[in-house]
Subunit: 109 residues, 2 copies
Amino acid sequence: MPKKPDLLPGTLDMLILKTLTRGPQHGYGIALSIRHLSQDFLTVEEGSLYPALQRLLVQGWVKAEWKKTETNRRARFYTLTPQGRKQLGLELSEFEQMIAAIGRVLQKA
Amino acid sequence: MPKKPDLLPGTLDMLILKTLTRGPQHGYGIALSIRHLSQDFLTVEEGSLYPALQRLLVQGWVKAEWKKTETNRRARFYTLTPQGRKQLGLELSEFEQMIAAIGRVLQKA
DNA sequence: ATTCTATCCATAGATAGTCTATAGATGGGA
DNA sequence: TCCCATCTATAGACTATCTATGGATAGAAT
């Protein structure tokens, strides 16, 4: 069976921000989205997710408000702010550069 | 100026092991190799490098012996062991899967 | 009615890995 | 002789993740 590789440290904020470009979502929904989009490969645990959302709130990259879900439950919906969108762009480009750099090392050795 | 993105956490061991497939090297040489191969993008600080080498030694993935460098200086040369080579293969495939999974999330949102 | 399951939020504590900062030794060149 | 580059190494702080909980509620099942 195919192991269980959790997450690549440092990429969670980026994944959350990216997920929120599709529109506001609550924490549980974000976790599900990441899991489904990655085809069950990436699993975001609560203990990682909520601290991350707190960080993003403090930085002003997302905002939050309590609403009702489609299933009539009370949940906190997170929305990407303009600063958050900008931050996402930054993180995406750094990530790509990083991956490219690692690729060069792995390829030449 | 273009920021300073250090390293992607969790990838250092893999980079070291891969570097050693070219042959035994001392710590300082490993750091230089990674830096040059990545075209000055990745910088491995001593405070990251030596703890990592200690980890690899303990796991049996590298072995070490004191020798003289080309410049006639005393240095500790690290060599990849068969287990280390196997471990490298494992880490490479996990890393690629991880990157692919992240790529799927980033692409679809 | 009651229990169960899925949904939903959140925190505490442990652990891992990296960074900053520091320390020291040595060979070769100015 | 003095300095710089080479070379090893550790301590302490910090960040981010994981494990493990805890709790609440809606709707379905029994």
